[in-house]
Structures are given as structure tokens and as C-alpha cells.
Symmetry: C2
Subunit: 327 residues, 2 copies
DNA sequence: AGTGTGGTAGATAACGTTGTCACGTCGCTT
DNA sequence: AAGCGACGTGACAACGTTATCTACCACACT
């Protein structure tokens, strides 16, 4: 910038004015400056500009794992909103580890992002964000709520989703319905389990712990769970899988068994309709989740000062065949 | 930082020394400073620090669309390498639009990222990066090479991949093999088409333009292409789909038709093995692609000055049934 | 002629860090 | 006793911007 000013024979501030399109610069000056900029290939240093102005026009997105299609769809939506607002987006994955989440969130804050969209890791406590939020950072939580602080959150209707799945299976005559979900300390997993249990109980059926398996949905885990649920005098005839990973693991495992099981999965996934039978799912919309959270973040960034809110996004049951196998 | 210095009754520089763990600070001082930091909840301003030091410890990742599982796997790999090196990662999607790619890449450069990992948009020309690269930014291209400048690239063996697919189908007796790929101006699409053609010709078979359809793999496009290929006296008996989107579109369309077609898809995808028949694919490894590119970037960031290189990652044919349907 | 007034331009001080240098105080050697 | 090096410390400038303030000029108006 100094070089540009010298070459154009003008003051530093005039260059700044031209670069920022401020008014009251004579056309002759502006032209000289533009020529100098061109000649030197100058481009303004955004970091310095933002240091001076006190905001960075960046937001940070923290999720469990970008490579999971559910989260990558969410990330795409957040990114679009960010770009529409002229912001750049940092992305990082917590890998479901509270310490890593904290470290990355604080790294974002040290970079002075203006806002944060966070999918919390299981059993994270977000007290650590308190000073940052007091310092002006805006945090919006997605898919799972904040713990230990009051903050905006955008969640899916998890309870309603598994309730609907149970209703659907009951309607097709099933009375022994198993549930395989993610680790119980994960918010969504707990909520979905609750919907499953509540709907069973409300329907006058027993809630049988032995038909529930909560854990990281690895193939071995799912295999053992199915062995257990299918053994004994009253085996399950239907299954609810608590997320996309679990659904896929169940499908793989079931395909090696003689029994036919009715199945409803939580989370929609590509090709669910092409399998035979098509996989019925409780669909929720990661794009809506991400977009809503990002919109809320930017509303707050633009000065909106309403109370902390939790927005719930509807889920809907998509019947495709696997849940309609009758007893 | 000023406040901390005042509260601790020390100079600015001493605070800086404590924060950065520099030696030759007495333990008493350090303790006072740490107490003051704690009390004021001070955290250093990374932006200012980096302004001073001249590097940002950030890299930018530019891809076609984070929400595409292929690219999100790649993004996950790049992110991991970045984190391992203590860098933060900007992510953005070009949506296959050269102008948007350019705009985003330059936005990254204005933020003074230290490096760039780019999946180029179709028909982009990367001359625009020349001044940035001369200014010290390191750019590594993935999946598709740079155009108009010499730059490192990490590519998949696209030609070898479709060659293998053709060999596989020929071996099962097919002589009329169709090819449905992405738009011809996309590098990978063109390469894969070339592999298809070269292998046919080398095998002494004619290359028949009417069996080729190149375009954005929307359902209507694929439907029309299949109508065409299946009409006439010599319909295709086997098909190669040029990427994951095309493969899925073909599967959906074929499932509504009476004919049985042999199929090999390019790009592996989740559940390919669970369909019936399992979908044979030419698999390549987005994680390896991303990791290799990021590793190369960081090697250069650490001062490696070797010549511009192009690294090719092998592909491999995974037979699962759909390609083994015999004529 | 003196006085506003409006439009340009530049000098200077920040923003929050860190590198450089200079200063003072030890304790040790000669 | 003087000199020397090692250590601890802080003042200051610099990184590349922009906001504020002042200075200047030309023009029109009393």
C-alpha cells in the first residue's frame, strides 16, 4: 500500500479511499491510484483491515465429522448462507471428542471469528464458551443443544420421529420392536430412545430393556445386539435403527441372516429407495437444520437481540417397504 | 494485553514472553502475569499475532460441493492433515462455476492463507492465481489439474480405471458397451471417456459415438440417453457410468425398465454392496487423494522446493455382481 | 477584501501483537 | 577494583490497514 501511494504520488489514505470506493476522491487521483495498484499487483491485506475494524467476517463451523454425509449436507447449507452474507467459513471436526471440540472452538475464537455454529460432541460441557460469548462471539448450536450455558439451538424433532416409527410398526402388527441406537450420552440418541420408549408405553406395551442396544454402531456391536434380540422365545420382528450409520450396519448384518425383519431407520440416506425392499426412514433435513442455524446466527450478527431460542425442525416418516413388512 | 501488563505491573513485552513461553522470564514475574491473565480472561488475538509474523497458519480448501460424499471424504482428509500441522482450514464450494471458484480463491488469498488446495471447476483457467503464487501462496490441485499455470496436482488414474471397466465387461462377453459420463469439459469426465475409447479400440472394437452420452447426470438426461442406447437393432448390453452421481441415476432409471444391464460405475459409494446385484465399481480413494495433496502442500510450506509434480493415485476395480452379468 | 462553505488531500494515531535493542543488576573472573 | 558476560526487563518500532482530524484550495457570498 505504501508502494502504491508512492508510485501514484498520493497519500496513504487516498489509496485506502480508492480501494474502499469511498466518495470525495477526484477522478484523476482515483485513476492514478488504480493504475499504480494494477502495476504493482497490490491486493489489500484482509487481516490487517479486519484487525483495524474489529471484525473478521468469518464464522467457524464445528461438527462431528465432515465426512459423514449427514453433516456434510449440513455444512453445505451453512456455507451457502455464509457466502451469501459475504463471510468465509472455517470448518473443523471434533470427532465426537469433547476435548477436541473445546480446543477447536477456542482456536476459532482466538482467530476472532464473529460467530460459531456448533454440533456439540457427546458429553461436552460448554461453560468454556462463556467468556467468549461475553466477549461478543455469537454461538448457535445445531442438532444437539448446548450444555451448561444458555444458547440458541436448532434441533430435529427426535422424539416425534421415533414415536412415528413405533406407531408405524405397531400398525403393521409388530409387538416386539428392537431399538439399536448410538451411544446413550449423545443427545439425539437419548431423545430418540425416549420417543421409542414413550410411544411403546403410551400404547400399553412394555418397555423391554433387552430389546435396546445403545453404542457406537460398529458392525460387531450391531451383530451382537441382533444375536441377542433374535434369540429366545420372543424374538424381535421389527427394528428401529437410531441413525444412518446404525441403519446401514443393520442392513449389512440382516442381509446375512435368514430372518426377515421389518426396519425403520432414523436419517434418510441416498439409495434408501433402491434397496429391496426400500428402506423406510424417519427423514429429517440436514440442509434445513444448517440453514436455519446459520440464518439465526446472521440475524444475531446483524444486531437482533431477542431471547435465546430453541427451534425444532419437523421429521417425517417416509414409508418405502422395509417398515411395512407385516407380522 | 495492555490491561494484563498494567494489572501485573509489568511491561507489554513481558506479557508477550509469558504467553509465548519464551525463556528468561523469572518465575515470580511469570506467575504474576499468569494470575493477571486468568483474572482478566485475556486470550491473545491471533489475527494481530499473525499480522506481525506474516503467516496465518490457515489453508483454504476449494471444492465443487462439500455435500457430495466424494468431496466431503476428501475434505475430511485435508482437514485432518491441517489439524495435525496446527493449521485451521477454510472451506468453500465453487459449485462447478469458474467465476465463483476464482472469487473464492482470491478471497482466501486476501485473507492471506498460506496455502490452497483446489478441486478446479470445469473450464476454469488458473492464470488468475499467478500473482498470488508469486507472492508466496502454495497451491496444490486435486482430482483435476490446473489450467494455464504449472502447479502440483494429485489425480486419480482415470484412464486406467475405465480401461479396467471395459476389460471387465468384455471378459463377460459384452460387445455393445455404453458410456454415460459427466459433462465433457470436466477433466475427469474426459479422461474416463478416453480410457473407455482407448480400451475399446485397443481391443479391436469400434468406438461408437451413439453409445456415449456426456452431460450433467440429471435423471432426465440419463433417461433419454438410455432410451437411445437401448433402441435399435443393436442395443447396449452393458454400461459404464462415469461418476457416483451418474451411477445412482442409472440405477434408478434401470430399476424401472424390463431389461437387465451389466453395469460398472466409477467412484465407490456406500451401500454399493447391499444392492441386488451389488454394484461393481472402479473405486478410487478420496481420502488418499486429499491426504496426499495436503501432505504435499505442507511439505512445500516447510520449505521443500522440488519441481512441480503430478501424483497419480491408483484406481481398482471392485467386482460385486452388476458387472458380471454375462451376455 | 474578508468570511464561510464544500470538496479534496494527507498526517497521524490507533488496532494487538512481536522483534530489536538498550538498560540495569547481578556474580564471576582477572 | 575493574571488567565482563549472563540474565531479566521494558521502550519502541513495525506489521498493513482505517478513522479522525487538520490543511488546503477554490468559489461564492456578505
Amino acid at each position: 500500500m505504501n508502494d502504491v501511494a508512492r508510485l501514484a504520488g498520493v497519500g496513504l489514505k487516498t489509496v485506502s479511499r480508492v480501494v474502499n470506493g469511498e466518495p470525495r476522491v477526484s477522478e484523476a487521483m482515483a485513476e492514478r491510484v488504480r493504475a499504480a495498484i494494477e502495476e504493482l499487483g497490490y491486493s489489500p491485506h484482509e487481516g490487517a483491515r479486519l484487525l483495524r475494524r474489529g471484525q473478521t467476517a468469518c464464522i467457524g463451523l464445528l461438527l462431528e465429522d465432515v465426512a459423514n454425509p449427514f453433516y456434510s449436507a449440513l455444512a453445505g447449507a451453512v456455507e451457502q448462507v455464509a457466502r451469501a452474507n459475504g463471510f468465509l467459513l472455517f470448518t473443523a471436526s471434533s470427532e465426537e471428542d469433547a476435548a477436541q471440540e473445546r480446543e477447536l472452538a477456542l482456536a476459532f475464537c482466538a482467530r476472532r471469528v464473529d460467530g460459531l455454529v456448533i454440533v456439540p460432541a457427546a458429553s461436552a460441557d460448554h461453560q468454556y464458551l462463556k467468556p467468549e460469548i461475553e466477549a461478543g462471539v455469537i454461538a448457535v448450536f445445531v442438532d444437539r443443544p448446548a450444555v451448561g450455558i444458555a444458547a440458541d439451538a436448532v434441533l430435529a424433532d427426535n422424539v416425534g420421529g421415533t414415536r412415528a416409527a413405533v406407531v408405524h410398526l405397531l400398525r403393521h402388527g409388530h409387538r416386539r420392536i428392537g431399538y439399536i441406537g448410538d451411544a446413550a450420552e449423545i443427545f439425539t440418541a437419548a431423545q430418540r430412545l425416549r420417543g421409542y420408549r414413550d410411544e411403546l408405553v403410551d400404547s400399553g406395551l412394555p418397555f423391554d430393556e433387552s430389546l435396546v442396544a445403545m453404542g457406537h454402531p460398529e458392525p460387531q456391536f450391531v451383530h451382537a445386539a441382533l444375536d441377542r434380540m433374535l434369540a429366545g422365545p420372543e424374538p424381535v420382528t421389527a427394528l428401529i435403527a437410531g441413525n444412518n450409520r446404525a441403519t446401514v450396519a443393520v442392513l449389512r448384518d440382516v442381509s446375512t441372516r435368514p430372518q426377515q425383519l421389518a426396519l425403520v431407520g432414523f436419517d434418510d440416506f441416498e439409495l434408501a429407495d433402491l434397496l429391496n425392499p426400500g428402506v423406510s426412514v424417519v427423514a429429517h433435513d440436514p440442509v434445513a437444520l444448517g440453514r436455519t442455524a446459520a440464518d439465526l446466527l446472521f440475524r444475531r450478527l446483524q444486531g437482533y437481540r431477542g431471547p435465546v431460542q430453541t427451534i425444532e425442525i419437523a421429521t417425517r416418516l417416509v414409508p418405502r417397504g422395509s417398515g411395512e413388512i407385516s407380522r
